[in-house]
Symmetry: C2
Subunit: 632 residues, 2 copies
């Protein structure tokens, strides 16, 4: 039996780790991104997203500026602000959003069409280049923003605007036998948006069109080829023959390997999972399971990073996980949180929650600088001064977070993830409350109100205060993380033992108000080994404690991190330092010899290795970084 | 005091290792390459080089075909055949060469101009694009071929043709104050050719023009920029602003780091060394020494491979030596033999001979399949099935030798190297005979006739039979290889001890006819460690025995070579097998676990590791290959 994620409005986060980050997002990132979107920030890359809307609404003159999918930056920001309004009132941002929504309404065309690029720049080319021009992608993000704003504020103006847009899409695209046009999105996103819109409106055509887009993907004859042949123009000049890039190589239901552009792929898999949950269709479910296993079992970095190559920002082949030429886009890690969420809704298994947690604390969070002002698009596992960001093949791997991108997908995507964390932490079905993530705060669910106190991820103690709301008999299911080999549960100070099922500990009892459940996850630093098929990690270990993956930085360990070795017998020590936990161990540094090659092994000197959380890297002095450490 | 390389005609090779390869070159490669050049071979890439000459001579109609420097493929083949004629008479090839020389004469223009591309295709664009169009490069190779043919046969027709061409070049390019045009070659080669032409003709203008080209390189204002501005056309579309690519970033005399296109660079350094030897100019000598140290101390693969990136087929930065995205063009290793030769002519130091030997037995020889029919351009140190030759960033790294290239520089370059080996083995000055390489056979020098018997590189015993020719008192200087930690020398069965000076053992005595000198180099297999700055070799060892570097191949060791480990305590065994020496050792294979990451180290099973000579790889079944082996 599945379960449903909590409503964001029902979860109040008061968490030592995440609340300061949420505050940063709300107090720094969102106002800063508003300035960027309104061209008021001092950044190299002008956004122009709001100005594009004004031009589209006919309220100012000017040229469209930005990428063809510039609207989506604004959409993700709107969505993030909407989520933030659940965390606390931010009247000035809410006012700004209302103004922008009004502007969106004025920019929308009479038939519901909404896309500033085509409205302003190429009105005669609407809907002719789904592969490259991302009208459906932009609509998808606007729909998600409208849902979030409706849920946060109860105001339905934006939702109604986007329903008109969704209605246009649903009336236009569908099976030709129903008199509609054939079509699939170039960048998947509309599928998930329509499924969510169906969920809150109950309008069946949204579900049907989402299902149509998913069903149609990968069908013969190739839609993008057909579409390209009909046109005498291209936008980016993409090759429709590269079908794997677009996950268009096989019917989506038959896909079992994660290929192509990683963000697009995982957005699609997320929609497939949501569709499987809605319809109970076993074929979709099996495809989702196969894709999940392929990603997490063969194509994911230890940090959660997804996408091994800059060419197409894409997955490559099983076990091909280079650390230094990696792509691992922040958005792909964010997308994986969505995929995990919808897999959990189908079947609450710990493995999905584990990956959600891994992404949040590592691959996604590493995308932002700790001051919320600079962002990684690419999240490497190895940075080498003079190589990363410089040499051919490494130019995309920036050794420091840049301030803003022409293609600014990641920063607002992170903002919407972080402001909506609560919904990922909790879920329920008719007889069970699920805790997927350990976040301090309070969840107000159908079955119960539950308070949670913890200093996670630095400490493995979590204390729940459970107050039943309807009946007293229900289950509390707590995820026992995959990284945890040993744990204890106490209820009202008494040890509690029960079977762990699929990664969750189910506690069933007659609950009384303010029942206390204490969980103690034994959290020691440990060495992680990669599968021996991962050649980029051969001879190496990574360090992890709780959900946090660690890395060595030059600022702590001197230059040339490849010369460091962690002997097998060295004990790892966890040390509190400036509010985070760092790891230390006795290590060795190979001395630099004069000769390039020698039949004498390099001498070693003892050193103390210091590892910091992966998400924390790149926040001090620039320099090398390395997750996989030579062992032995 | 320097020394001069032996004349090819004076050295007869009868060597267990090299004679079969020379035979292969003469009996298979050269006839096969003749067929390719005459478009009679069944290969995908048509050469058209001879046909281009016929069209240029006005003897047939047709279109020019091939790269702008297609003439150089023919030139290198002509040079190789010329060297081969020193090894043994090959009447049919000599006849073919004479016919081609006649044709070259007819294709030459009245003023000495010789280049089929511009003669046939763009006559109005001669000499306008030195950066991209390589007229000087093609002339250089033709000059070297003409010298070789003259030296082998005494026939001077080709030499006279190329002297007319050289005279044209020398009258055209030079200091503007002498009424000549400013110019430098895009692809260096003419410099060395003119220096060699000066050497055999005594014509000073050849020396002066060579020196001019070297002096002018890297001077302000940038010649290629100026040249590009004067033209309204480009050939390849190169960017003249990429000055390092063309070694045009600093005056050549001031260059101390090997940068840019590796073959071009090393051809230039070779010419610089020859110029330093001719002129005794300390500045040129110091630049050569600095470049030599930079290459061999920081930018060379253990196999001798040169050039770390496909972008510009170029050197990158110190210690950046990736094994799998490597370039390491066969021609660069060949060029390094030339550089070593001319450094040896300046100062006979063992380190130069060591690198010459390393290249011959490894980085250069690996360029050819053992049947002489297929060739590597790129010589990787790691091949991974499904990655090498397939994925983005790896497409240039072919996992098997292809048959022929559109840019077919490497195959005939190898042919000319292998047929001219004798000149690299021996040298002399007024009182010393130098043996740089251990090749069985007979050298007829000024000071002595010396026979050499050996089963090198499989065995370290070398037996010399020395017969003085002029006076009886002279020195025999034998290179003691850098890889050799222990050796013995006997003269007429008596142990001989003397000081080793700069890597050579000098034996001075009153020689009698048929004096026997026996050298026994202790040749055990050993482990080689890279400098700890080389991150691509971190945690690994390479295996070497004598001058032969070894590698693991999948065909001997099963798939996934990155999962193999060589424990530090394992003994390396040398085993004779099918005429080569292979190495075996007790090793471990990490078992492939189900999980991608685990806190349990992978289990290991004992295996016997088998390593084959690096040059030998890729001659059996396709599969993975790896030079650097995980240790411990």
């Amino acid at each position: 039996m599945g379960q449903k994620s909590a409503k964001i409005s029902g979860v109040k986060i008061r968490d030592e780790f995440w609340s300061p980050i949420q505050d940063l997002v709300m107090e720094e990132m969102l106002p800063y991104q508003a300035d960027v979107l309104e061209d008021k920030a001092d950044v190299t890359e002008k956004s122009h997203a709001v100005q594009n809307l004004r031009i589209a609404a006919g309220e100012t003159k000017g040229e469209y500026h930005g990428l063809v999918f510039q609207d989506s930056d604004l959409a993700k920001w709107l969505e993030a602000v909407a989520y933030a309004l659940n965390v606390k009132p931010i009247p000035n941002l809410e006012k700004k959003v209302d103004e922008i929504i009004d502007l969106i309404g004025r920019a929308q065309q009479a038939d519901g069409y909404l896309n500033t690029y085509f409205t302003v720049k190429e009105p005669e080319r609407k809907w002719q280049n789904l592969q490259e021009c991302h009208e459906l992608y932009c609509s998808g993000h606007m729909i998600e923003a409208a849902i979030a704003y409706y849920e946060a504020t109860g105001k339905d103006k934006f939702l109604n605007i986007m329903r008109r847009n969704a209605d246009l899409i649903c009336s236009k695209f569908g099976p030709p036998e129903s008199g509609k046009e054939r079509g699939i999105p170039g960048h998947q996103e509309i599928e998930l948006a329509l499924l969510r819109l169906h969920e809150i409106t109950g309008e069946k055509s949204y579900l049907e069109t989402a299902q149509y887009f998913l069903d149609e993907r990968g069908r013969e004859p190739d839609f993008f080829m057909e579409e390209t042949e009909k046109r005498d123009w291209k936008h980016f000049g993409m090759d429709p023959a590269n079908r794997e890039y677009a996950q268009n190589h096989l019917p989506a239901k038959e896909q079992a390997h994660a290929v192509g552009h990683s963000v697009r792929g995982i957005y699609m898999y997320s929609a497939m999972a949501k569709l499987a949950a809605e319809t109970g269709d076993e074929e979709w479910l099996n495809a989702c399971r196969a894709l999940w296993e392929n990603i997490t079992g063969k194509r994911m970095y230890i940090t959660g990073g997804l996408g091994s190559t800059v060419a197409g920002e894409a997955f490559t082949i099983d076990y091909d996980l280079p650390n230094d030429t990696i792509y691992a886009e922040t958005c792909a890690s964010i997308a994986m949180v969505f995929f995990a969420r919808y897999m959990l809704e189908i079947e609450p298994k710990g493995k999905y929650g584990d990956i959600m947690e891994l992404q949040l604390y590592n691959g996604a969070l590493s995308g932002m600088q700790l001051d919320g002002k600079r962002f990684f698009y690419v999240n490497p596992l190895e940075v080498v001064p003079g190589v990363s960001g410089v040499l051919h093949g490494f130019k995309h791997v920036k050794p420091q977070r840049p301030e803003w991108y022409a293609c600014a997908c990641c920063p607002p995507n992170l903002a919407r993830l972080i402001t909506s964390l609560g919904q990922y932490a909790w879920g329920e079905n008719k007889d069970t409350v699920f805790n997927h993530l350990y976040l301090g705060g309070r969840a107000d669910l159908e079955l119960a109100q539950i308070g949670c106190e913890t200093n996670y991820p630095w400490d493995g103690s979590i204390k729940y205060t459970v107050t039943p709301k309807q009946g007293r008999n229900f289950k509390l299911a707590i995820r026992i993380p995959g990284w945890c080999n040993q744990y204890k549960i106490k209820i009202k100070d008494k040890e509690y033992e029960s079977e762990e099922i699929g990664g969750y500990m189910y506690i069933q009892r007659e609950w009384s108000p303010d029942d206390i459940v204490e969980v103690k996850l034994h959290m020691e630093p440990k060495r992680i080994y990669a599968n021996s098929m991962v050649r980029a990690a051969a001879g190496c270990v990574a360090l992890q404690r709780g959900p946090i993956v660690y890395c060595l930085e030059e600022v702590d360990n001197h230059p040339n991190l490849a010369a460091l070795r962690l002997p097998r017998t060295s004990k790892l020590k966890a040390i509190q330092h400036n509010g985070i936990t760092v790891l230390e161990a006795d290590g060795l540094r190979l001395e630099a010899e004069a000769a390039l090659y020698s039949d004498v092994p390099p001498k070693t000197q003892p050193v103390t290795l210091r590892a910091v959380p992966y998400y924390y890297w790149g926040n001090r002095k620039p320099g090398g970084m390395r997750v996989w450490i030579q062992e032995g």
